[in-house]
Amino acid sequence: MGQNLPEKIFSAHCGREVHTGDTVIAELDLVMAHDTTGAWAIDPFREIADKVFDPERIVFPFDHAFPAPSVAMAHLQKKVRTFAKEQGIRIRTDGVCHQLLAEEYVKPSMLVLGADSHTPTSGGLGALTIGVGSTDAAVALATGKNWFRVPEVIRIVIEGEMPHGVFAKDVILHIAGMLGTEYSAYKIIEFAGPVVEQWSVPERMTLTNMCAELGAKTAIVPSDERTREYLASQGREDDWEANGPDPDAEYAETIVVDVSDLVPTVAQPHDIDQEAKVEDIEGRPVDQVFIGSCTNGRIEDLRVVRSIWEGRELNRDIRVVITPASRRVYLQALEEGLVEFFMKKGVSLTNPGCGACLGRQGGVLDDEEVCVATSNRNFPGRMGSPTAEIYLASPATAAATALRGVITDPRPYLPQAVEG
């Protein structure tokens, strides 16, 4: 019986061939926890072990609130720092955990456990990257393993021609609108089709990142030449290998999405399946634009923003916050003149990390304020006051909105040459 890609990766980490429906114990290649989930993993870990399974296969990025914005966060971070030093685990302070994992750690066909719900992001490199909570992380830190149910896999085939002004973010917001927030609960989404095959790894990561919002266990794009190009761009071409499902693999369901008629899309408050066409809600006043996060804080996203702002002034009444996803992205932006360009436009450029996305620092919203954000969640209270309203959008829609101070269709402002 042929295997889909998640079955193949689970099998390689279980020492036997496994199939959908099996409950298995699998060996992990990498375990990640961050400044908050890591802190909560330490007490349960100490109950069951003295030493972690392998400090070389563990990383603790501080990203949710770093540098610490409060005594409470400083306290949590000190707790993680003390533990990491004692165990020989590396702490990173230079970006969103999922971005760092993609840049430096994850290889195709790996099995990765991350104590954060957006761990599916690195599925864009052809790895199986699964999000869990802190107790699961503690078990993994102690044993290098965890238990999994090999889930049903939904295959989503993306085909058609990407229209001008439509990006990977618009595609996944459209899929979220189609399928709802629970459609793929407990299941894995495996992407395929000519559009995904053309996309770069950063675009694929925008797709896999948001599958967390569809309830999925994770999402994966098979590793191919585009994956090799991305790994080469990060200085680690040697980490590349191709992978993919067997030709006769079985899926719970195959869904075909044709993107040819798509237009710029947003998720309206207060859930990610509240799909709307930007053209239908144009003109709504906005207080803040946030460009960043593990969904859309990469160099490719910042280049799109510049292409829209070139030769234009931003609206004076709007606040614009840009948070590069990592120090590597920030340095690249510096090299390309983007940092100076953004500063001269009056943007608040913050240090790499999760930033405003989770409402702890760097752009917290007041009551009834409206924000257009390139991040992945628009729940009430996510970015601050529970009465604030968050519209999720592509970097292009966010950038166009910053020009006029109201929700704005990016298509008239995008040069024809810039492609998603």
Partner: protein
């Protein structure tokens, strides 16, 4: 009593990010639903049920949401469905999650779980609801969570869990 919640209750509503900066279970119990339903943490009593619609616990993986709910002393959460990470987190902490059709349950209804028969008895309405309580959920509840389980039986006992 029963605390009734709608579909899609996310973990940001249970323990919002700005309050979510401690590992102390007692402090976390005090902030449970602090903005969404401020009376909850003050009035909830041990043995109460949380009753919800679909996709309870969606969103962020933050386990404080589970710690916070568990340490209010609630008996169980009954919902039409649960989000994946939240479900695992509750199993790991030994907080009972019950999947069943919750339509028609009121705050005043007297509920009783019949675990052997996999039924939720709504005594005040004289009816029973079929529920799903997997063996691993019950085992880890009886053991007091996965940490207590591994402490008692050794790390090698992880393999046994997959055989349940």
């Amino acid at each position: 009593m029963n605390w009734i919640f709608p579909d899609n209750i996310n973990t940001d509503l249970i323990t919002p990010g700005r309050y979510n900066q401690t590992t102390d279970p007692k402090e976390l119990a005090k902030i449970c639903f602090i903005e969404y339903r401020p009376e909850f943490a003050k009035q909830v009593k041990p043995g109460d049920f949380v009753v919800a619609g679909r996709n309870f616990g969606c969103g962020s993986s933050r386990e404080t949401a589970v710690t916070s709910l568990k340490h209010t002393g609630i008996e169980a959460i009954v919902a039409k469905s649960f989000a994946r990470i939240f479900y695992r987190n509750c199993m790991n902490q030994g907080l009972l999650l019950v999947i069943g059709d919750t339509d028609g349950i009121t705050p005043e209804d007297e509920l009783e779980l019949d675990i052997d028969r996999q039924k939720l008895v709504v005594k005040t309405q004289g009816r029973e609801i079929d529920v799903l309580l997997p063996r691993m959920m019950l085992k880890l509840r009886d053991e007091g969570g996965i940490v207590e389980y591994l402490k008692r039986h050794g790390l090698g006992a992880l393999e046994e869990l997959a055989k349940l």
